[in-house]
Amino acid sequence: MGADSGSGAAPGPAVPWRKVLWERQPFPDNYVDRRFLEELRRNEGLRQYRYWAVVQEAGLVAQQISCVALFLTLWLYMEQGLLSPSTLLWTGLLCALLGYGLYQALAPRGDSDNHHRTRWSDLQSASIFLSFTFGFSPVLRTLTESVCTDTVYAMTALMLLAHLVAFPYAQPSPPGSLSLNAALFASVCLASRLPGDLHTSGGLDSSSSPSSLHTFTMLCWALLVFALWPCLLQRLRDCAPWVFGCVCVLVGVCGVGGLGSLWPGGAVLLAALLGTVTLLCPLLLIRLQSDKDNIQGPWDEAEIQEDLTHFLH
């Protein structure tokens, strides 16, 4: 880039031009020499993405979407009366035990003493969950009785969207407050819209209020899917990354399959969505990297690089 002597006479190289402000130089004010924009740096810190790595990371997002889809499938099954709540409940408990066993098996080798203590606190937590849920079920089942169904569905959709947006994809293990709360709120809303069991709620009751068992089952599954499953997933990712990939695929397939058994159109949509998220979006990301044009130079704000090593004497 030679913006050589734009206007006016430039004296020869006898007096070199210096880039200082306070000195009178024989050059005009807007003179720049060959070293113009020497310090410009383009796309510094540009990351080189590898396609399959990005796909793997995007798999987590797809996995979460299919989890939500699975949950909705379960609810649909219960709503249409295809599955009885007791079956689902026992299945859920079984899955919980299996998952817990896997979780413990994959735990890093620490002292067994720690394990015993953790097992006891886990048991406490589990009993608290179960008792509270069971205790509140009768209250929860009639909670949204007077609210219009459309409103309930709208609230559910909003809350599940909030859950997906706020989910801590980088570190799923301690579940984020907002995402977990939104998912539980959505599940309570859905649970109150389940049809009632005529034998349990009494024949004189004309409005179909769900029985306590429906609500309890729904909440237990919500807990499993939204609170406990991410912890296991985190463990898997830490210990056996290749298993993690398989699990994500499996979950996706189950989600699509489950939805497909009730609503084929939905299954197609879900598959398309998952494909987009997993395969198309990373491609877009990598393609669009080449269109990046960031410039950095000495005109940027100074970043203080604190070197704390001198504290470590």
């Binding site: 909670l143 007077s146 907002l178 977990l180 709360n181 809303c189």
Partner: protein, 631 residues
């Protein structure tokens, strides 16, 4: 330097004699209180004045001499001047007046350092003109236009005051307007001098004493038989009443009546409050010691008059109610009225338990709350029905207590209302507590929903990482509370409105009781009928202006000004009152100054604070009772 002489109007036509009064220190003014006539023995005069000084505490002296010669009395001038040697003073006034003329003549003799009397003042001559009625405004504007004379000649102003009214009036401080420091300290001193010299005015012309005086009471001491009789009778009556009151207070503070529950109940019933308050009042009034300060006297008088009016109104009410057995009829309508109110409440609750105004309520909670409140109302009505045979008798006897005053009748009414609407208070408290808990729970759980918590130390919202079980249970509770909020809010709203209606009614009753208690009737009566007794300032009116000098000797002229007791707070108004000289304290100032402090009932919170409390569900007690303040 202007020499001001305050001269009583009653002495305008007095015979010649000695002027007795007081020099006001530092102000170069003198207050003349009385004139001692001839013949007198100087020794006796001195002794009398000494005695009076001791009795009244006022620095009385002989100011000078007064001469108003009748026909045939001449040649007093030298005699009068010789008098000044008998009564040694710093300054000696020689006032003289001629019959038929209006103005005075004044000589002022000053004692210089050598002890010789030097006549400093020139003669001040009157003029033959009539009174000029030019009203002057302001506190003590005494400058007169058109005075001639150089600087070395002092000016003399005569200020005529009506001694009786000044003696009886009470000067109040002017709180608005610019106080003139020179006049301010002078006028209260003048008033104070006249008031305190009361012992001087005891001798009238019928007394056979060593000295013969002229002052406002010299025609005969003022008094009325009724007042004297009442004064004589008051002491034993006061003693008797005080004794009875001590008995009553000792009874009230006995152990039986001082248990915690009794005290609690009596603090809630306004009748007991009013009773204790009136007892206190009576104790103040009937204390055998005389009231010394003016404030104290006015307080006693106000309390007595208001008590009297209260009792008479109460007796009137009792006589009206007990005639034709109206009280029985009232008692008979009381229970049906309470029944009617309860029925209305039940209907209201049934309406709430359905779908009120088309709102969607949570059915289960609705039913629970509705049945709960219905049961309580039913309980209360059963109690009232249980009491209904006795109500007439109770009311008959309790209504007799209205003899003690109208305020008692009103307090009684307020208490009966409170008792009959107790169920409303009950359900209001329940509803408010429930709503309050809901609101607080919701706000706290909303913070948990977002992953934040309230930092009590820093009084702000901070982020917090919750445990899994905390999150779970918190979300469940949040959902429940959120969906139950409309139901609790509606119940709360309805009961709060009912409670507010009752509170307003009671508040009106309490305000009227408070008004009767604290309104200063005596002061208002004084203001209307004897307005000179409550003075706020003075107004000066020029009687005789100085005129052109008629003789070469007379350069300065006396100025005669009349003194009226007057109201002074709006300098822009020109208030002329040629006949009645009294313009007193403003009515609102009377009420403000003499209002008896009571356990006044006033709203505790501003409107904004009240709305905030209602929104949050805190219990409201909008009328607060102050404890009686002792001045």
């Amino acid at each position: 330097m202007v020499l001001k002489i305050f001269f009583p109007q009653c002495c305008n036509k007095a015979d010649s004699g000695l002027l007795v009064g007081r020099w006001i220190p530092g102000q170069n003014s003198a207050v003349v209180l009385a004139v001692i006539h001839y013949p007198f023995i100087p020794g006796q005069v001195k002794q009398y004045i000494h005695q009076m000084r001791g009795q009244s505490g006022v620095d009385l002296t002989v100011l000078g001499s007064w001469s108003m010669p009748k026909e045939g009395q001449e040649g007093m001038e030298s005699f009068l001047r010789d008098l000044s040697t008998i009564f040694p003073q710093g300054q000696w006034l020689q006032l003289s007046r001629e019959m038929g003329k209006i103005g005075f003549r004044c000589h002022v003799l000053t004692r210089d350092q050598n002890g010789k009397l030097v006549q400093q003042e020139k003669e001040l001559k009157e003029d033959g003109g009539g009174e000029k009625g030019g009203t002057k405004r302001g506190g003590g504007e005494k400058e007169v236009e058109g005075e001639e004379g150089g600087g070395e000649k002092d000016k003399v102003i005569f200020i005529h005051y009506e001694q009786r009214k000044v003696m009886l009036s009470q000067l109040h401080p002017i709180d608005n307007g610019v106080p003139d420091p020179q006049t301010e300290s002078q006028l209260p001193q003048v008033f104070g001098t006249v008031c305190q010299s009361e012992p001087l005015f005891f001798l009238d012309k019928y007394d056979d004493g060593p000295v013969k005086m002229t002052h406002w009471q010299s025609e005969g001491r003022e008094g009325s038989i009724i007042v004297e009789l009442m004064k004589q009778a008051s002491t034993p009556v006061c003693l008797l009443t005080t004794w009875m009151l001590t008995l009553w207070t000792s009874l009230c503070s006995s152990r039986i009546l001082n248990m915690r529950t009794m005290r609690f109940i009596s603090s809630k019933l306004s009748t007991c409050l009013q009773l204790s308050y009136r007892t206190e009042h009576l104790q103040t009034v009937c204390s055998p010691t005389r009231a010394t300060a003016h404030n104290h006297f006015m307080r006693k008088a106000n309390i007595f008059v208001s008590f009297f009016v209260d009792v008479s109104l109460g007796l009137l009410l009792v006589s009206w109610m007990y005639r034709e057995n109206r009280i029985g009829k009232l008692a008979n309508t009381l229970v049906p009225a309470a029944d009617h109110v309860a029925k209305e409440l039940e209907e209201l609750l049934q309406w709430l338990m359905g779908a009120p105004a088309g709102l969607k309520m949570n059915r289960a909670l609705d039913q629970v709350l509705g049945r709960f409140f219905l049961y309580h109302i039913h309980l209360w009505i059963s109690y009232i029905h249980l009491m209904s045979p006795f109500i007439e008798m109770i009311l008959w006897y309790v209504g007799l207590s209205a003899c003690l005053g109208l305020t008692f009748a009103l307090s009684l009414l307020s208490d009966i209302t409170a008792l009959l609407t107790f169920h409303i208070y009950f359900v209001y408290v329940y509803g408010a507590r429930l709503y309050c808990m809901t609101v607080y729970g919701l706000s706290s759980l909303w913070r948990l929903f977002r992953g934040k918590k309230w930092n009590v130390l820093r009084q702000r919202v901070d982020s917090c990482s919750y445990d899994l079980d905390q999150l779970f249970i918190g979300t469940l509770l949040f959902t429940i509370l959120l969906f139950l909020l409309p139901t609790t809010a509606l119940y709360y709203l309805v009961f709060t409105l009912l409670r507010l209606v009752v509170v307003m009614f009671q508040g009106v009753l309490h305000l009227s009781v408070d008004f009767i208690n604290s309104f200063p009737l005596f002061a208002m009566g004084l203001r209307l009928f004897r307005s000179y007794r409550l003075a706020e300032g003075v107004k000066f009116r020029v009687l005789v202006r100085n005129q052109e000098p008629s003789t070469p000797h007379d350069d300065t002229y006396p100025t005669h000004v009349s003194f009226t007791v007057f109201l002074l707070d709006k300098p822009r108004h020109v208030y002329v009152s040629p006949t009645s000289q009294i313009n007193p304290l403003k009515v609102s100032s009377v009420v403000q100054t003499y209002r008896t402090p009571t356990y006044s009932c006033y709203p505790k919170d501003s409107w904004l604070a009240l709305c905030k409390k209602l929104f949050l569900g805190e219990l409201i007690y909008p009328w607060r009772h102050k404890t009686t303040k002792i001045d």
